[in-house]
């Protein structure tokens, strides 16, 4: 039998099974904590820090911190709101996010978080880095201008025999996502579709589709990310392999 852990989020009494991470435990209790690099069902990475909350007065990430008895978690505070905003703003300025020409616009999680947090303009100067667009794979376009290095593609996508298809290449500010040349041919239509979906931004795009959903019909056109209604849309879209 699993043990129940009791904790509070912004003063609200919550409980969850032992071993759950704060992010999922909050969701179970109907509370949304913004997140970006995390994907349900895979081990958390804690790389984007968007899910930062205050636990017993200390800043910690919600996706990779397990719940513990008596935790006092702060989520909706001005301080955390601004901290998350800063992270999103930094992600915008360190890449080249030209949303008006991006296929992912309207379905992009980075953009959706910016909308939710009401970011009107980033406070940091744009870096306008020079980055590559790699369309050499027959199924997939890789646009490094938009990659936020969340590692979701690396963690989520493998061949049937368990080989990774994506990997990090180089280090530091030169770090990029690489498609393993030896397994590149293994990228099927199905894998390309999955990769484009798992990528929170428009850095991985399936070839020969684009702008399939008209404006007004996209995931985050009407409701903010984290809204229960848009969560339902996400799960129904999981079944739909065409986007």
């Amino acid at each position: 039998m699993s043990t129940k852990i009791n904790f509070t989020i912004d003063g609200k009494n919550c409980s969850a099974d032992k071993g759950m991470f704060v992010l999922g435990a909050a969701q179970k209790n109907g509370i949304y904590i913004p997140s970006l690099c995390n994907i349900e069902g895979l081990a958390p990475r804690g790389s984007c820090r968007v899910c930062t909350v205050k636990i017993n007065g200390k800043l910690m990430v919600a996706c990779s911190t397990p719940v513990a008895e008596g935790m006092k978690i702060e989520n909706e505070t001005e301080e955390l709101h601004d901290l998350r905003k800063q992270i999103i703003e930094l992600l915008f300025v360190e890449g080249n996010h030209l949303c008006p020409s991006c296929e992912k616009s309207g379905n992009c999680e980075l953009q959706a978080l910016a909308y939710r947090l009401k970011i009107m303009a980033p406070r940091y100067p744009y870096q306008f880095p020079v980055r590559e667009i790699d369309a050499s794979n027959p199924k997939l376009i890789k646009d490094h201008n938009r990659c936020i290095l969340c590692k979701r593609c690396i963690r989520a996508i493998q061949t049937d025999d368990g080989k990774n298809l994506f990997a990090f290449k180089q280090r530091g500010c030169k770090l990029t996502i690489n498609i393993e040349p030896s397994t590149s041919a293994a990228i099927t239509d199905e894998i390309a579709t999955k990769a484009a979906k798992i990528c929170p931004v428009g850095a991985l795009l399936k070839k020969e589709v684009g702008f399939v959903q008209p404006i007004g019909h996209r995931l985050y056109d009407h409701l903010p990310i984290g809204n229960t209604a848009s969560l339902n849309i996400i799960s129904s879209r999981e079944k739909d392999t065409n986007t």
Partner: protein, 181 residues
């Protein structure tokens, strides 16, 4: 009390944001009641007649003239509003930011498919503004007070923001009106 005075300009933009101002539809009649326009393509007034309350800037800075106009706006307007993606982050013109300037000029004036044969010259006249090394967002050149994103910004967002600035009430910034595309 006299009406607040508004000035507008389009720098490196496509005039889409100005079109979006017109998109406030019949509210434009209310707007005319509420404010007076000064230097703006809307009324074709070419230079400032007086100090304005609100300056609305569409487009980023891609050449020396854009910088000049923007600084002139900062001098003559009490508040500046960056309207649209180009003003806020350079927008589509900023697609050239990763390309060396010589390559851009060569493509446009020498090597492009539509360049007329025997007529290949990179324009070079003192009258022409100098092109900048890259396209700059307005707030990296002068101080900007308000930002209204979108390509173009939603007319309701523009309306809400203008009315709030004029009346001194808080902006509603409804979720559906804040978009980057």
């Amino acid at each position: 009390m006299s009406k607040p005075v508004i000035a507008t300009a389009s720098l490196a933009g496509c005039f889409g944001c100005h079109m979006s101002i017109l998109d406030i539809d019949e509210r434009i009649l209310d707007l005319i009641e509420l404010v007076e326009f000064n230097k703006s393509p809307v009324d074709d007034i070419k230079s400032f007649h007086k100090i304005c309350d609100i300056g609305i800037i569409e487009g980023g800075c891609c050449n020396s003239e854009n910088i000049h106009v923007l600084k002139d706006f900062r001098k003559n307007c009490k508040l500046l509003v960056s309207l649209g993606e180009c003003a806020i982050m350079g927008g589509l013109p900023a697609l050239r930011n990763g390309i060396p300037i010589q390559e851009c000029l060569n493509e446009a004036y020498l090597d492009g498919l539509t360049v007329e044969k025997g007529n290949k010259i990179i324009p070079n006249d003192n009258e022409l503004p100098m092109i900048l090394d890259k396209v700059y967002p307005c707030h990296e050149v002068v101080k900007i007070d308000y930002f209204l994103p979108g390509c173009p910004p939603n007319a309701d967002l523009i309306w809400d923001a203008l009315v709030s600035i004029i009346k001194g009430t808080p902006m509603k910034l409804a979720y559906e009106t804040i978009k980057y595309d």
